[in-house]
């Protein structure tokens, strides 16, 4: 499925925050997790994740630190902050509203 660019961009923040809400992670693993959760429907251009992560870091929603990975290379790990959790909760409510509204319209049409 080809998703609109704007929708992908808008959903990036809550998705990343939600995945980091599960556990600390790094870029490649986040991409893999997104693909896994969406059953491969949500395909990001891998590189684009990093500007998003850096923005979240600047906004103080996630923290980053470099540490050694099992491969021996340095890897940048991201962790959600308490501010990030608050933001995630807020976004969750907003998406809920969008979801409910759309569901309301589409369900009605289906039953009608």
């Amino acid at each position: 499925m080809d998703m609109g660019k704007d929708l992908v961009a808008a959903s990036a923040t809550p998705l990343v925050l939600a995945i980091l809400g599960e556990s600390e992670s790094y870029g490649y693993a986040i991409i893999k997790r997104v693909a896994e959760l969406s059953g491969g429907h949500l395909q990001w251009t891998d590189g684009m994740l990093y500007p998003v992560l850096h923005r979240l870091e600047r906004q103080g929603l996630v923290e980053a630190k470099w540490s050694e990975a099992e491969t021996g290379r340095r890897r940048k790990y991201y962790k959600i902050t308490s501010e990030g959790r608050a933001q995630l909760a807020a976004q969750r409510q907003q998406w809920q509203v969008v979801d409910d509204t759309l569901r309301g319209i589409w369900m009605k049409r289906c039953t009608a």
Partner: protein, 456 residues
Amino acid sequence: MTTFANGPLEGEIAHWRAYLRSRRAVHSCDVEELEGHLRDQLTALTEAGLTGDEAFLVAVKRMGSLDELSREFAREHSERLWKQLVIGQDTAGKSGKATRAETFVVLSLAAAAALAIKAPVLFGIRFGGPDDSFYARNASLFVLPLLTVYFLWKRRPGVVRGLWLALPFAMGAVLANIFPFHKGSETEVLTALHLPICLWLVVGFAYVRSRWFTDQGRMDFVRFSGELAIYYVLIALGGGVLTGLTMMMFRSIGMNPQWFVGNWLIPCGAAAAVIIGSWLVEAKQSVIENMAPVLTRLFTPMFTVLLLAFLATMAWTGSPINVQREVLIGFDLLLALVVALVLYSASARDRQSPPDFFDGLQLLLVVSALAVDAVTLTAIAARISEFGFTPNRVAALGENLILLVNLTWSAWLYARFLYHRGSFAALERWQITYLPVYAVWAALVVVTFPPIFSYR
């Protein structure tokens, strides 16, 4: 470390990394992060059975277009597009220790320059009195040797070479002070004006080390000189604000800081600023765009218009140039400026690109400068035949001839270049080859004029 036994694959990764690293908005730690991602992806793909090449293609494709990526990075990190010049911070490939050592050396030399200019006071030679001519003659000798020391320290050409460079400074110091100049004589003023020019060449030798005889080395020194002039003006503007505020604040509490400002702040600041300015230029050369060529582009059209308007007005009204001393020096400065415009536009030009509109404009500038110069030369010659030789007139005439030769040949080379008969490199080489001529003439004025004109 995940390295791939497959040699070509490592090569491909290195290529990709170098390409990404050339983007200004993407810093090296981001490159490391992205490379880590690429390697994880490659590992996963090769484990899934793809060959190295296939895996690389897929992984790079998934990473997305690097143009778009760096645009995103630029949007997120817009501050990175403003190149920052942070002195004392580690710059590429230099250890913090080396940078600190340089900071220390520069600050010591700047302090030494500030003290050197005050040293004559110990021998009873004061500012703002009859001894001012001493300071005028020796001004360059207080600062330029220290600047040379800085470059010798930085480039480390060996002690012997360094000692050779001390020789011209010693000679300059002797000549400027043993000649029995008459008070306020023309030859004394000429010495004060010309000594810095020949000593600047010595600084150039220290600056380029052994590359003086390659054109590139001299061109680098030209670039350095232009940038230093710009930095010096900027520092002087800041100094002016500092001076003004010092005066205002202390006067407001009934003190007069005149003696401090005149005797300490301005002379010491002016001396130290040469060293500090050079250090800034050295530190920023790879960080910030060169300013001199930009100013050249901006002012070349305006000076062309000025010269053409001047020629047209003179032709229309028929009024001759009224040759006063200041006028002669003024016209020499104008020609020097035109040469500088040609030189700095050459310093920034890509030698391979074909002639464009700007080159035509440069030729017009040079030709109109030549026309103005022909008029000036006639005026000087008339004056000399009427009133005889004075040091000023001969100096003005000599400088005029030197600049005339330079501009004539430049015009010829420009014309050839515009008609695709010659290369731009020839013009650049001509300008660079000509540089020592200025210094040699300046040395001639310093060494021979005072005795020839019997210190008038």
